[in-house]
Amino acid sequence: MSLTNEKITIMYNKMVTARLLEEMLHEMFSEHMLHGTTHLGIGQEASGIGACMTLRDGDKATLTHRNHVQCIGLGMNVKYLLAEMFGKETGTNSGLGGSMHLMDLKNGNLGANGIVGGGLGLALGAAFKMHYHKEENVVMCFLGDGATNEGLFHEALNLASIKNLPVVFFVENNHYAVSMNTSRSMKVTDIGQRANAYGIRSIILDGNDAIDVYNMTFSAVQYVREGNGPILIESKTYRVAGHSKSDVKQLYRSQEEVDAWVAKDPIKRLEEYILKNNIANSEMLKEINTRVMDEIREAVLFAQNSLDPSADILNKHIYAK
């Protein structure tokens, strides 16, 4: 389906939701209001949300540790997302999972993962089931650039390729795995080349251009849906925030480098596109921002006012009945 004005507005809304939510999370972590750690996707909103919006009912996705953007893209309600970050019983995972394990199966979200590359097997398995039952669905397997250096990535690509599994490997190349720049972690310049080694087609796109992400991912998803086997998309983008809450010094990169990418901010770029094409005026965009902010504030209150899970939940979920 082509990108209608309505869809573009929804995409903008979701991107703003992710951004404002994460800015709020960042603040709350700095004030020690939250336990544990978190990985922010600020700067990667076009990539995660553009990709998720190409999916339809019955499709699935496996997410990474840097998953809030992807979760919003797949339609997770911020109330339950925040409640999970607060470890409350009303959270998506009843407080058992936390930031790195947000899961929402009813929206096709097979879960974020604390293990780099941990979603690969889950994605292949879910795709195998679709293949087995001849369903016209796909699995989008989100990965970071760093995950493509895990052995399992290479096993997964080969197996998906020879079995013609409907997997879209969506690699968000944000140029870093914690402190390691991709120029130090691999000799290929494009991760797409790795797919070609396994007989898989690859697409490289500008991950900070929401329209491009949507359009190119949409045709890739279509190709996979039609039974052509897996595809790999390399979405080139940048992690503007630190790797995690603990990454304060960031000695591994320069401020100039960060600034250069901030100048390519995906939300600003989409705003410009919207205004230039008369999809909405600046008043309407401002309104969206205000409404989203209100929703997030409300969600924070909801999370804070929710109860901690009680200890009897511990034994309820370890084994299936």
Partner: protein, 325 residues
């Protein structure tokens, strides 16, 4: 003596061993300019260069593999699993290669490698970043397993681990990193295989290791106020176990509890308990107690996370129960 943190103690040991032996090198994710997942290797890349403090891509399996190969070839690798949970990705090389190489080759080569393993819960990192997997490692003949509880032990055991000609799995508790303790100015090494009596007592014996030792010490201080005198054995090495120190203490007290954060089923507490019933049964005045983690994955919620592993109050309560038997 000087006062330093657990983290600094580890760093000093690494640095001193690297100066002493040029075959010692470090390898892992983000151990260079980033300083390691928990800051242990901070500054070492500036001191020793990128030839010896080596950042790697996220490729745990081959890091463990390369370390094994380098070790049989005469180097002495110290590798870091950013979180001990990721040892699952290293297991083939550790269990099927490193642990068995000396044996299968009838000592044609040995495997002097150290695998550093930040372990345990309490940081809200969730089920895949909070486990205590030391019992798995003790179950594999060919591996040595250590778990220091304080800065003094961290430094002395790290030096012993690096000098040992066998693969040593070196557990470090995340909550211990910033703890402070006295460390001698002079060179010292703590031999692998020796437990330490952290506190003398004569009513009950608490056998523990790692961060749980600190909880036992606090509990023992409270118990003293109500007239219960606890002896605390800090195992320091989990394999090979210092059976004699445990047995001698139990001969004196007749009452013993084993305290660890790892889940109870299949944990070290069961092993120690079995050793005592084989070798010190007649000295026991009460059944052996295991105060251990619940058999559950570690939950994210802070209150639940705390409820899953023994806390000071649980240790005190258990000690009181033990005295009533």
């Amino acid at each position: 003596m000087k006062e330093i943190t657990y983290k600094e103690a580890l760093r000093e040991a690494l640095s001193e061993e690297m100066i002493r032996d040029e075959n010692v090198f470090l390898m892992g994710h983000d151990i260079g300019i980033y300083g390691g997942g928990f800051g242990v290797t901070e500054g070492l890349v500036l001191q020793f260069g990128e030839q010896r403090v080596i950042d790697t891509p996220i490729s745990e399996a081959i890091i463990a593999g390369l370390a094994t190969g380098a070790a049989i070839s005469g180097l002495r690798p110290v590798i870091e699993a950013m979180f001990s949970d990721f040892v699952t990705l290293m297991m083939d090389n550790i269990v099927n290669q490193a642990a068995k190489f000396s044996f299968m080759s009838a000592s044609q080569a040995c495997v002097p490698l150290v695998l550093r393993m930040p372990a345990g819960c309490g940081t809200g990192a969730g089920a895949q970043h909070s486990q205590s997997l030391e019992a798995w490692m003790c179950h594999v003949p060919g591996l040595k397993v250590v778990f220091p509880s304080n800065p003094y032990e961290a430094k002395g055991l790290m030096k012993a681990a690096i000098r040992d000609n066998n693969p040593v799995i070196f557990f470090e508790h995340k909550l211990a990193y910033s703890s402070i303790g006295y460390v001698p100015e002079d060179e010292y090494v703590i031999p692998i295989g020796q437990a330490n009596i952290m506190r003398k007592g004569n009513h009950i014996t608490m056998v523990s290791y790692g961060h749980s030792v600190q909880k036992c010490l606090m509990a023992a201080a409270h118990l003293k106020e109500i007239g219960i005198s606890a002896e605390i054995i800090d195992l320091r090495t989990l394999y090979p176990l210092d059976e004699a120190t445990i047995i001698n203490s139990v001969k004196k007290t007749g009452r013993v509890m084993i305290v660890h954060e790892a889940v109870k089923t299949g944990g070290l507490g069961g092993e120690i308990s079995a050793i005592l019933s084989e070798k010190a049964f007649s000295y026991l005045k009460a059944p052996i107690l295991r105060i251990a983690g619940k058999d559950v994955p570690i939950p994210f919620s802070k209150t639940l996370e705390e409820a899953c592993v023994p806390q000071i109050q649980d240790i005190e309560n258990a000690a009181k129960r033990l005295m009533r038997r």
